[in-house]
């Protein structure tokens, strides 16, 4: 059975329905794209899964365990961690501290160790691990800089580094490449692949940039008005008339995706 499942999920805000009767199955090691027009409920989905909102109805099952209704921190502890659309960082922390805080779940060493300074060894390990992650995200040259002072691209990268640092098994990325130039985007895309391959993580990805989605996703789910419109391999999605109708408003897909490379 799937590593992660969403069954009959509904989320209403007062009157309006953000998500209705949504089912989703994600296999271990998969990169799953979640796409859809603005207001389709993608980010709401992330917020519900990560426990920011409680689902109105439905189940969220992870590794066979019901997870709906838990606090974000508990969900993170189970190994499901999300990033945010906004560049969510600890802006007045250094890059290093941002990652170290995120090591929190994995680091031991309670109050007394802290007070009597016997947590040195642990701290060392943590710093080693943190540096590894920072290096992986290509930020090592900035490790003592204030997150606030970083250029946008690096801030996005740091956002992911923070999520990685808590060592999730399922990583949920909310529009990781927004506002990046083509080079940065390419770099980020490769990183996401590497995360899956080298860190053995399953990835749930919300993204507007079709190139990225088509490029790295094994499977794509299309949302529209909170419902699942279609699901399948990138190519299938591209060929799906409903998707083209609803999502791309019937325009010439190929053109929109910038020619053959996308189709390929």
């Amino acid at each position: 059975m799937a590593m992660f499942e969403v069954r009959g999920l509904c989320k209403n805000f007062g009157g309006l329905t953000a998500i209705s009767q949504l089912n989703l199955e994600v296999e271990e090691g998969e990169i799953r794209g979640v796409i859809g027009p603005n207001g389709a409920g993608k980010t709401t989905l992330f917020s519900v899964i990560s426990g920011v909102y409680k689902p109105t109805r439905g189940k969220i099952v992870y590794l066979g365990k019901e997870m709906s209704g838990l606090k974000s921190s508990q969900i993170a502890a189970r190994g499901v961690v999300r990033t945010f659309q906004r560049t969510a960082l600890f802006h007045h922390f250094t890059v290093m501290d941002n990652v170290l805080v995120a090591r929190h779940l994995r680091a031991k060493g309670g109050l007394f160790r802290t007070i009597f300074g016997t947590s040195r060894r642990i701290d060392m390990e943590q710093e080693k691990k943190a540096l590894e992650i920072i290096d992986f995200m290509g930020l090592s040259h900035l490790k003592d800089e204030l997150a606030d002072n970083l250029p946008h691209g690096h801030q996005r990268a740091l956002g992911i580094a923070v999520a990685l640092a808590s060592e999730p098994k399922l990583l949920m990325l909310d529009e990781p490449v927004t506002g990046m130039d083509p080079t940065e985007t390419q770099h980020m895309t490769d990183l996401i692949k590497k995360i899956r391959d080298e860190w053995a993580m399953t990835i749930l990805l919300v993204e507007h940039d079709m190139k990225v989605v088509m490029g790295i996703c094994d499977k794509i789910s299309v949302l529209n008005f909170g419902k699942k419109l279609a699901e399948g391999l990138p190519q299938q999605i591209l060929d799906n008339p409903d998707v083209i109708e609803a999502y791309l408003g019937g325009e010439d897909v190929v053109a929109l995706l910038g020619g053959e490379e996308a189709v390929a």
Binding site: S72, S73, F90, H92, L105, A107, G109, I115, E145, A163
Partner: protein, 333 residues
Amino acid sequence: MLKHKVLSIIGVVALIAVMSVLPFFAREYYVEILIIFLINVILAASYRLIATTGDWTLCHVILMGAGAYASALMAKYFGWPFWMTAPLAGATVGLVGLGIVYPMLRTVGFGFFITSLAVGEFIRLSWIKFHNPFGGPRGMINIPEVGIIGSIDFYEAIPYYFMTLVITLVCLLILYRIDRSRIGKAFKSIYEDSVLAESIGINVGRYRSFAFVIGSFFAGIAGALLAHRLGAIDPHIFGLDEMVYLLVWVIVGGSTTFAGPIIGVAVMTILFEWTRPLMEWRPLFFGVILIGFLIFMPGGLESLVPKFTRLFGNRKASQARAEEPAGAKKSVV
């Protein structure tokens, strides 16, 4: 970075040296002032620890009072010695903190602030209400002195001063370690972005109450020191005015760096003594200072340090600030 460290260590050592010779040159009255000063340092530093999570409270002075009462009761009715009652007072207040923080956690920011005022008042009124054991409005009298240990009479000012100095240093060391530890970082991360903190596995609710409980513990220690020095305590010396004075210290000093509140206490204590002649005008004077700082120097005195270091072309300035989460402008809320 290393140079920076060495310098600060030298600074601290020098400060301790000064503090240890000072009483020998001061009149008895000023030694008493120094004792109260040290107690207030513990109070302010522990207050800052709670504030690093973004939770500013209005009941910290009352928690100190709880410590004073707890220690006084234990010393008076069980005849326990100070070295026992002080930590136990801390523990008691820690528990009190744990108890009251629960409803308070339902609120954030200003709601938390104002709720803490009401909850604190509840505690203070309970001392007035329950004559037994708290002694009602009169409070508690004849609180046992620390007494003679070995050949030293701790009723005398100078020995008590040194005892207080040692306890204060220990408290500060612990608070500093917590501040710098992963726990301290978790506190600050909540202040920075509680949603993000929660999403990476930091249980915001638990850590907020954790900070509150630790802060309460040290407030309790401060209270014990106060009670056994004054020999008599009553509910009125832990009122809202005293709480606002604590805010003045923290705001004048700044809450971003560990040293900030301590600087605040030092400067304000000097001003307080200096303005003694104009007793009845003093609150007005401090009111003006409070408003002035909040409007014109919200970062407090500490916010001058980076400015100066930048003046002297020190590139490390940004790092110096980087060690701390909250930029000066954010030091409140």
